[in-house]
Amino acid sequence: MVNRNAEDDILLRVEGLKTYFFQRNAVLKAVDGVSFTVAQGEAVGLVGESGSGKTMTCLSLMRLVPQPGARIVEGEIWFKDENLLDITEHEMRAYRGHRMAIIMQDPQTSLNPVYSIGEQVAEPVRLHLKERGQQAMTRVLDALRAVRIPRPEQRLVQYPHQFSGGMRQRVVAAMGLTTQPELLIADEPTTSLDVTIQAQFLRLIRELQQESGTSVIWVTHDLGIVAQMCDRVNVMYAGRIVESGRVRQIYKEPQHPYTRALLDSVPLMGARRDKLYQIEGQPPDLRSIPQGCPFWPRCPEAMDKCKEQYPPRTSLGGQDFVHCWLTEEGR
């Protein structure tokens, strides 16, 4: 972990990002005013239930929201000193796969079945580093070695169907890391892997991150992974970040009732509890988010005020903050 408090150390700063889906009769607010920062070399978690807008936030960062249908309507995405929402599509392509890379959820489907592994890993090398032939191959082999794929020379000419799920995800990671990006977005990359393979993969990414100093955004609904992988965590609910803080702080003193509920619903080894805690109700329909705090219908501590007005940002010192009337009123 590198020094990550100095202001000039910020790699990515997202301000008021809004990404909406425009449907026939409704507007689906998938990302509704998200702001967060990622420092150089820092690992930031993005946590929330399915449908809370995590994946859409990541796709917005790469300007790859599904077309047609979705659109980034507002906000700023500062990558160092350039706002990614101001540059042309052509300039944006120089970022994708070069300065920022993504690992997607499902390794079974994120590799193209008709091209060899070597070809697919070599693509960003040829495209962004302008290396060809033997030089590019050497880099591809290095990348495959870095993600601990055994016998990379032989595996190079093989196709995705000849790889296991865990190995495929390593290939995807190698594909992202060959160009030594400054930011790696990992969108639930271990969800479809079984637990032992998952642990191996997490350790691998952690090591690679520490070696290269790459910043990472970890998207997950698994708070165990966050504890293991991240320095900071942003908790998302209904398209907004409701709490942000250092991992240790949040685990020790969660402020938002939603964060607390998420932590309570994680099974703990050795802890004696008759029944695992469960958050009542369903996440809100993003086409009609309730007025006030979107979490109030499910919140055990909801007050009248929560139903009327969205809580303002309450600073918790440093960059930590929470959006909750309980904290706001309590001070």
Partner: protein, 306 residues
């Protein structure tokens, strides 16, 4: 790969043998050919002479073996109406039909690939609508009618193209387009839907996330996957060309196998019909064999599962 190809060739030979046997059985189960070829009041002698000439006086198994033996030597007997060897008739007429089929396939592919791909990429745009209308027309108009309409427009009214017959390259355009249009209709839809599926896939999103230009994302990563079902369809389509050629060759007075098929049916020229059926069947099997091998070349997953 070699094992796969070997296995498919074996399957193809099996298919050929099956067609030959079917033709043999059918030609003997729909009545006595000797009866058909002799005049109604010509008496028993003429019938027996005809039967002896066709080899029908021999036991069935002997006839069958002789038939297969001749077939292997590409001897399909002689035409009953004019005594010319069937093989010779077929060899003379095959090139015209095959070149017409090829032109039709080129028309169909050249129209449906770009229209289907662009329709999938730019959904509901003008080009998508043009593709839909062309496909709709092609699918709903029978070729004998659309062929005549095209002749009226391009040959009679505008005098741009020859109305019928086989001559220079211009003469291929109208029959080729007529034959290809109906096929192109289904193909456009297939390319479009298959492309749309592929465009939604994770590996296409991944290709974009690598920073590849959209042309490479579509042309390299999406198209090759989208072509797999199209290739399968093309093999079926070439079979449809064989059927279609019977009609289209009549409309355009095209000197191909389709025309001989119609003529020989009218003249009850049994050996020629047999020959046409065997040629069409074999062609269909060969195309399937070719496409299966091509499939294995395009999709690496196929080689290992014969």
């Amino acid at each position: 790969m070699l094992k796969y190809i070997g296995f498919r060739i074996f399957q193809a030979l099996l298919g050929l043998w099956f067609i030959a046997t079917l033709v043999f059985i059918l030609s003997r189960s729909i009545g006595d050919p000797a009866e058909v070829f002799t005049a109604r009041n010509s008496g028993v002698d003429a019938r027996e002479i005809m039967a002896a000439k066709l080899g029908l006086d021999r036991p069935v198994h002997e006839q069958y073996l002789k038939f297969l033996g001749q077939l292997v030597r590409l001897d399909l007997g002689d035409s009953v109406s004019n005594g010319i060897p069937v093989t010779q008739i077929l060899v003379e007429r095959m090139p015209a039909t095959f070149t017409l089929g090829l032109v039709a396939l080129i028309f169909a592919l050249a129209l449906s690939l770009p229209l289907g791909v662009l329709g999938a990429v730019y959904r509901d745009s003008a080009i998508d609508w043009i593709a839909k209308v062309l496909a709709f027309l092609g699918q709903s108009m029978p070729p004998f009618w659309s062929g005549i309409m095209l002749i009226i427009l391009f040959a009679v009214v505008w005098e741009m193209l020859p109305p019928a017959g086989k001559g220079g390259w211009q003469s291929y355009i109208l029959p080729g387009f007529t034959l290809g249009w109906g096929v192109m209709a289904g193909m456009v839809r297939l390319v479009r839907s298959s492309m749309m599926d592929v465009l939604d896939s994770d590996y296409v999103a991944m290709a974009r996330a690598k920073g590849l230009p959209e042309a490479v994302v579509i042309g390299k990563h999406a198209l090759r996957n989208a072509l797999l079902p199209v290739l399968t369809y093309s093999s079926l389509v070439l079979g449809a060309f064989m059927n279609g050629s019977v009609v289209v060759e009549q409309v355009f007075a095209w000197p191909g196998i389709g025309t001989s098929a119609v003529q020989s049916v009218v003249r009850r020229d049994f050996p020629v019909i047999q020959g046409v059926v065997i040629v069409f069947g074999s062609f269909f099997i060969l195309i399937n064999l070719f496409v299966d091998i091509l499939y294995a070349v395009i999709d690496p997953r196929i080689k290992y599962t014969p």
